[in-house]
Symmetry: C2
């Protein structure tokens, strides 16, 4: 093993979670302890910051504030949605990265993100190797969608799942309050994988969940839905529906497209959100009652005050272990979890080759999804329940969370 001595760099990428900063805290605090790490940098907005030579000098931060990152939601040093080109077609960005890494003598690179970010990590790692630049590259997983493959689950999911389950329990109390028929439709994030909407089953497990639940893994059938909704309303007079933003018909149509118009972003990609409202409008066409659409929106990925203690701990640990692995020679790996047992909950940390983690999706097993929107099986409950245990949130100051305040000292450009 070569004794690499040089700077360490962390980049945050993709959509925020409640605990992405907890992983950053793990990386920064551990990196600052390591003898072979001469400087600890944070990339300003991920890959884009690296391409622009924009770094924060994390060595200037107070340890107390770095530890407060554990309970500060979102991405404190800035995130980015940026996909590098295929190096076989256009290597100019990789050459630029290499130039920057050489210039700042960056020998340890940590990238915190989901599928795309692990792919980025993988490509950079391979490119550097071929170019003869010794740099240990480690992926640090995060995603509320829980769709990263090979690992049992991903940091970020437990806290988002706890938010979803708790909020469904609270909404259930609210939705049951009047003696009039009503339908409440709640939209949860998840484009292709339904892990997060499935977390509403944890509320059902506590007796206060949705009556009907729709995951992107199963094609949505409007006729069946209206039939099943009618059955619930006939029996109870009220209904709560949980729906993933990514639900599609068997023809591949998202609900806003099916019942109205689908919004697209600047690149012409389908912009999700609005599934609950679209479905609510359709329900109003068939039933004469009060219908309300609710979207958890950004709240589900930023509500750090509801973070799961297990999730915060694991997110921190994953960051710390990525550094420990890198300084002892590991590269081209992502830290992940292997489930040893669910009750009692026990996991093993493992180092997964990035090639395996990149660009594949872990979906909810079809056999865990009950037919016709009837929720999730006990297997899912056993899987998810350990991940939402315990509370761990920022100390209150004036009754409000005291989040980390970083100095954000910029590294002088070389």
């Amino acid at each position: 093993m070569k004794n690499l001595k040089g700077a360490a760099l962390l980049g945050q990428s993709g959509g925020p979670t409640s605990v992405i900063n907890a992983s950053a805290a793990g990386v920064f605090t551990e990196a600052l302890k390591q003898e072979n790490i001469t400087e600890v940098y944070g990339a300003v907005h991920g890959i884009r910051g690296i391409l622009n030579e924009e770094f924060y000098d994390m060595g200037q931060e107070d340890l107390d504030e770095l530890l407060r990152l554990k309970n500060t939601p979102s991405s404190s040093i800035g995130s980015v949605r940026y996909k590098l080109k295929n190096p076989k077609k256009d290597a100019s960005e990789y050459d630029r990265l290499l130039e920057v890494f050489r210039k700042y003598n960056i020998r340890y690179f940590f990238y915190n993100g989901g599928n795309d970010s692990m792919d980025t990590c993988n490509k950079i790692s391979k490119y550097f190797k071929n170019a003869g630049w010794d740099c240990n590259v480690m992926g640090v997983p995060k995603t509320i969608d829980n769709d990263l493959n090979i690992t049992d689950h991903s940091p970020g999911y437990g806290s988002a799942a706890k938010y979803v389950a708790t909020s469904f329990m609270e909404l259930y109390q609210d939705a049951m309050v009047y003696d009039i028929p009503q339908v409440t439709i709640v939209e949860v994030m998840g484009r292709n994988a339904g892990w997060l909407v499935a977390a509403s089953a944890l509320a059902s497990y506590k007796g206060a969940g949705p009556d009907l639940t729709y995951l992107p893994e199963v094609a949505f059938d409007t006729e069946e839905f209206l039939e099943d909704l009618k059955a619930v309303l006939d029996a109870k007079g009220k209904a709560i529906v949980a729906i993933s933003e990514g639900v599609k018909t068997k023809e591949g149509k998202y609900l806003p497209e099916l019942f109205g118009e689908l919004k697209t972003d600047a690149f012409g990609h389908a912009q999700l959100g609005g599934a609950a409202q679209a479905l609510a409008d359709e329900v109003k066409n068939h039933f004469d009652l009060k219908v309300r659409a609710i979207e958890f929106s950004l709240l589900q990925r930023s509500a750090a005050h509801l973070a799961s203690k297990v999730d915060v701990k694991e997110a921190f640990e994953v960051g710390k272990r990525a550094v420990k692995a890198a300084v002892t020679g590991a590269t081209d790996r992502m830290i992940g979890f292997e489930r040893v047992s669910s009750n009692p909950y026990k996991i093993k940390y493992k180092r997964i080759p990035l090639t395996k983690a990149a660009n594949t999706e872990q979906k909810v097993p079809l056999e865990w999804i009950k037919p016709r929107g009837q929720g999730l099986t006990q297997e899912f409950i056993d899987y998810a329940l350990p991940l939402i245990q315990g509370d761990d949130k920022a100390k209150l100051e004036d009754g409000l969370p005291r989040f980390a305040k970083l100095k954000k000292v910029r590294v002088a450009k070389k």
Copy 2:
């Protein structure tokens, strides 16, 4: 003072809050202790339950579960939106109420609600008095809107305000994360009074609040808004906007009406909600950037996991004191608060004549609202900050809140 001996009855009315059940816990536990109270009843869905002789026998409940009501959101015995007719025009409902009260020997009546409910309370009290039925009637205030008059504030507001301020702080972290221009528009409840959207100023006080804030107290001017938004975007590249669902133009148009179509309910009343989406659509017509609309919807009134300790305590206390007042002869009063000082926070409980509390609205003083959406003054911060202090939430069981489980034993109809 007459020594009234008989049953006590509580009804819950209007929209839920995180602490309406805390007041119920105060009423029930105190009433169960009183010698002159022979039975303790809960009305099933407020006034409608009374008209139908539908009561729960609260004496059958375990004290532990009654105390868990302190941290259980919404209205556990069922609420109702029902306005009694004017007794001068049609007294039939009042006669029916009187009949039921006589039949069950109800001598103490507690009604927990907002403006309308205090009016209901007031009318019932006067009608019974004229009819010679001795019954002490006490109003127990609650409203997330904080628009009840005469009292310094109302139970329910502090917890909702804490939810709003905390959520803005978290959304701020999320909204700042990418290096692209974007506008986030967040809609908060409040039809005529802007107390709740004003609570976003508490997030600003902690350095993480909205850039522009709109209350129903001030007429909305689209041109000014677009100008001010442009200035924020020019300066920061991003903007967070807080808007009350009840915001109107000087012509009296709600935003969904101004920029699209206003939804109406079964009675043809304007159904609020959708202001953020309507404004987001308008912003997209003027700026080429990412715009996201978020509605706190029912979450802001049911998120008991974020309840303010001060609010829970006061809500419970108000219920308890209503019973103590009634059994010592008070009637036709609502328990309210008088602020003695804000720092340190100190209040006095007072008994306010229902006539004064009913059907009037307390709005945010105009001098506390800065011009052109610039937020609230320090006076508002000083007023609101003490109300959101401390945490008090349900114990966790399996990582999720353990809400009260009532037996809900029905009283046999006489």
